[in-house]
Symmetry: C2
Amino acid sequence: MSTTQIRTNGVDTDTLFATLDAVRLQPALARFQFRASTRWLSGTHNRTTIGGFYGAGAEQAREQEFSIDADHPTVLVGDDHAPTPAEHLLQALGACLMSGLANIAAARGIELGEVTAELEGDIDLLGIFGLDDGVRNGFQEIRVTFHVAGDADAEQLARLVEQARRRSAVYDVLTHGVPVRILSASS
Amino acid sequence: MSTTQIRTNGVDTDTLFATLDAVRLQPALARFQFRASTRWLSGTHNRTTIGGFYGAGAEQAREQEFSIDADHPTVLVGDDHAPTPAEHLLQALGACLMSGLANIAAARGIELGEVTAELEGDIDLLGIFGLDDGVRNGFQEIRVTFHVAGDADAEQLARLVEQARRRSAVYDVLTHGVPVRILSASS
């Protein structure tokens, strides 16, 4: 007789908890290295491919390689083939908070309904354009507004958002920064 | 007689310089707001749509709306429908540096050949998992290795990478951080 796999919010919570137990016993399993490869196409249009990564103690292959394009819009002298890198950054943040929220809700036994997050980022391009040294290159502020429906009261739903923030990799990097080393190997 | 549009590396440099001149005269044109909307699908799988934005003094519509998915891989109890948010973050960085590099090369009259950037990010998931308070949630370090071919010497090509770094919105945000406000509106 096979056991029934229980999924809450599409999350296999038994496997999730078993994974956490395995990592408790062998913390080195938690060391991951993610990778991406960006290729210039034309102008501001470029394509990033994402495939294997290291984690859970081994190289991990994927069944498919993912491909993501970026470009600038025409008002910024691009061809608008794809979102800007700054918009991709907002996407990474929204996605990270959302994935975490769904896992946390499942672990707490809260069934989610519709969940959305609206992101906005203010940026003054005088920085990037090199026209004002007093203006930073990046976003000046990012705002995220969550709308969470589920079978719990408003306070419990708000706590899901708060816990997602506390355990988000992308939120941590965006708010605290990360060392970035850039090497140039001319060819 | 029509004028010939000169494009270097696919960049319309006349329009690029005219845009910079316009912003010098009217700096408020450089104020932009980018937006993204993330919707939960199932488990760690979610979809972000990216459409209009504010910039150059007006709301800017796009001909098409862009859609980007994220998920966790099976080893992290996801369904591997799409890259992880952490990989999307690497993509945003690679794309930002690459778009900048192409514009800078065009402005300097350097014709590019093949240009690629390999990105790696180290992350210890003990932080996200809540198993070690001494481990951060996000990447511990990100490395980017550029391979730049073009009709200039190695030093000039390396300077393109350095200037792309100096004028990158995403690099600035990742290395210096940005205020992020998260609001929760239960529904």
